[in-house]
Subunit: 170 residues, 4 copies
């Protein structure tokens, strides 16, 4: 029987992402592919989603998945990050729930806006392991107050060690 | 043409609600009905949802709506808060998005767990006015950092004044 | 304890509705309100949804609910059928599932397009009583082949008798 | 820029599938993988979903995706068809909409129950090319009455030729 590869969800800012956040996301995506994990993001051609996908797609054997808010009709169908598979939900912001449920571990990369915050909250609500990578202190304070076992990392290397440890426990 | 009544969404802790949070929710529900507004909650027979519904149902002319996570089959259909209308979504936690989109103003009553946090985040994301009623300081710090125009109230009277002001601007 | 009013879901063609289908829907909506039931439709300002809502809103004590596909932002918020309550889902066509789950009985009024067909199929799938009112023979053949207990009516009076009988058995 | 592989959605009966339907689905899955297409199904370990996945997984280079109705918590996470990627939606029957939107072509394999019928209806509603493989005549009559361009195939070879022709036109 084939065992499925682990799925790591990476969430963060879209159009509002900083140069620093984008660099981090790209490095993280590459690291995820290198370890043989599947990268899953919100799939839009912007911000952390696009940067992580780009990084992951550089590594041979990558599987880069995007779960999109729109219906994927007409030009929407190609208007995505670099993806191996696009899941079109037509469910708007409710697709954030699917992102989180489908991931074995969720990483919040560099903070973000309220959409990213909803994903961190849903991850805790669904019992998915949550790692906060280089987020603002107010994010760490809030999400650590919401759930046990929320972890923080300050760089990609530490983040990947934490993912690995979490996947061993799943 | 009939003008629809304004819809106030009230979200907060479920089974983990404190006695203080429940008392607040019940008073808030009553206040919402008294002003002629529709009360909308997550509809389950627990916590802030149930208490707010109970308070609202005491006032003549109430319209109390619950948007539930389950499919409403068999016994689930009656296993709700006191409601005039039950909307069964079958969509689990994604129903939190519907709660927020359907409300003209969203009130977070007394803080809560990650489900409640996801609703506050979705409210900001969707541009719905958000009022934090008697939430812990870490909630106020976090959600005020996420969006402009998030307001705080320390008691039900102040909260209803803020709702009223927001509805006039809608 | 307050007992909820029964909810009757009415589904049918949108923009493509015929004059005959609209007349039928309006009469059906009025009949539903007259019996004290809640009318639930897809809520858009078109076709069977709009006509049934209009008919229902003529009767005192009506409760007319629409479950809409869009997010209810800006002008979308008023762009609905005549409703007492608008539930904005932001879930596109997946809101068809919510319509059906929330109804105690589902009526397909005059046939329709593939959206209406999906609602008839979801009704059978979810075990909701399904009544086909004045639909084309090919609809009757198909849906009667899919599930037991699918019933047909040729006019509104017969349809309301069937609804009543079904509600007594719920 | 990497071009995404085409995604073929295969839908059909679950637990109620016949031996004939299962054999057809397995052959179809294998054919889909052989052509380099991604197979997408409802992902449950039953019926046409499981058989098509099994067939597809036999071919080197396969990508077999399942979009599941449940949240993927605990044991649910492994209780799937043979998949390379499991998308857990937590949205019950509304996941049928996602299946259809994410597919470039939808095949209904051998007919099925009301869940399968809802997927055929959603496919027409969303404008996805729909191919009916070895379905009962009442299915063909109904869905051909609902939308133009619905095609029928009586065996897997003909079905794959039709898929290929449709993908060239996308």
């Amino acid at each position: 029987m084939s065992k499925r590869r682990a799925v790591v969800g990476v969430m963060g800012a879209g159009e509002a992402a900083t140069a620093e956040g984008l660099a981090l996301a790209e490095e993280l995506g590459e690291c995820i592919s290198s370890r043989g994990w599947v990268l899953l993001t919100g799939g839009r051609p912007a911000g952390v989603m696009a940067a992580a996908s780009r990084g992951a797609a550089r590594v041979e054997g990558h599987l880069v998945v995007g779960v999109l808010p729109d219906e994927g009709n007409g030009e929407e169908r190609q208007s995505t990050a670099v993806l191996d598979l696009a899941v079109f939900t037509g469910m708007g912001k409710a697709r954030n729930v699917i992102n989180v449920l489908s991931a074995d571990v969720v990483v919040i990369c560099g903070g973000g806006g309220p959409g990213t915050a909803s994903e961190a909250a849903h991850a805790i609500n669904a019992g998915r392991p949550l790692i906060l990578l280089a987020v603002p202190p107010v994010w760490r304070d809030f999400f650590c107050s919401l759930g046990k076992g929320v972890e923080s990392a300050s760089d990609v290397e530490e983040c990947c060690r934490l993912i690995e440890a979490r996947l061993r426990r799943v």
